[in-house]
Amino acid sequence: MSSHDEAAADPMLKDLELLQRFSPDPVRAARVRARCRAQLERTRPSERADMSPSADGHPVTPVLVGCLCGAYVISLINLALRVYGLLE
């Protein structure tokens, strides 16, 4: 017999099950629920916008940002080389 079964079979522990159950304030519970829902909602769309998936399911935004940064760095190097006359 498991200890859970023992607990269920023990008449004294059964008394504990019969203890009056306290209920939370329904108004406050509704307010907390609404607050939590709103918090959950707030995080959902922003992360989806950041990580909009392509057709094959991979996030596009990080790749795009990476490409733009790469192009910017290359153009900077190109400009620096021209300024110092190392590139015609």
Partner: protein, 195 residues
């Protein structure tokens, strides 16, 4: 809660689905409140800690493991919050200790939670339970009142299943002794009535 449904709810919570939160809230709100109210013996504290528990779930929803057991997870958070509350109270009380003598003392009144107990028998059991040391009280609350399996209760309390089994056995003995003492105390006081 059915395990398949629970796993589905966890997945939906990880995806930020508010309707999944509603389902979890419906399933656990009253149970968590009852646990916290019995642990703290105070409705206002239980309400505050309950709110904080739900906020923790929402904050950590994305980082939940796919195989999370929601019941033990929530009760663990609630228990940790209660422990933090007790630690904070301990610090406050140590500061306040020197001031206590300045306040007028009155006879202790039963808390509103005590007054709400329906019957004399319930009141007796509730009083015996609330007089137990916290570690035994929480073990009984989790297993006998909230219906967690002992292995889940062990997880919530951060002890081994064997330690939880021993804690439950000790808690049961202590509760029985306190109930016996209360009964004999009651009989004694009746015998003391002059005839």
């Amino acid at each position: 809660m059915d395990r398949a449904l629970e796993l589905q709810l966890v997945e939906r919570l990880r995806n930020g689905d508010p309707s999944a939160f509603d389902a979890v809230h419906d399933a656990f709100n009253a149970r968590l409140f009852n646990f916290l109210a019995r642990l703290s013996n105070r409705r206002d504290v239980a309400e505050d800690l309950l709110e904080e528990t739900w906020l923790r779930l929402v904050t950590h929803a994305r980082r939940l493991k796919p195989d999370t057991h929601l019941g033990p997870w929530l009760f663990t958070v609630a228990r940790h919050l209660y422990a933090s509350y007790c630690r904070a109270r301990l610090v406050e009380d140590s500061y306040a200790e020197g001031l206590i003598g300045l306040w007028p003392s009155g006879s202790p009144r039963p808390s509103p939670l005590d007054a709400a107990e329906a019957s004399e028998a319930q009141r007796r059991v509730a009083a015996a339970l609330s007089a137990l040391p916290a570690r035994y009280r929480e073990a009984l609350l989790l297993v006998a009142v909230e219906g967690l399996r002992p292995v889940e209760a062990a997880q919530v309390c951060g002890v081994t299943p064997e330690a939880m089994r021993q804690r439950l056995s000790r808690a049961r003995d202590l509760l029985a002794r306190r109930l016996r003492d209360a009964e004999s105390g009651g009989l004694l006081s009746l015998n003391e009535v002059p005839t």
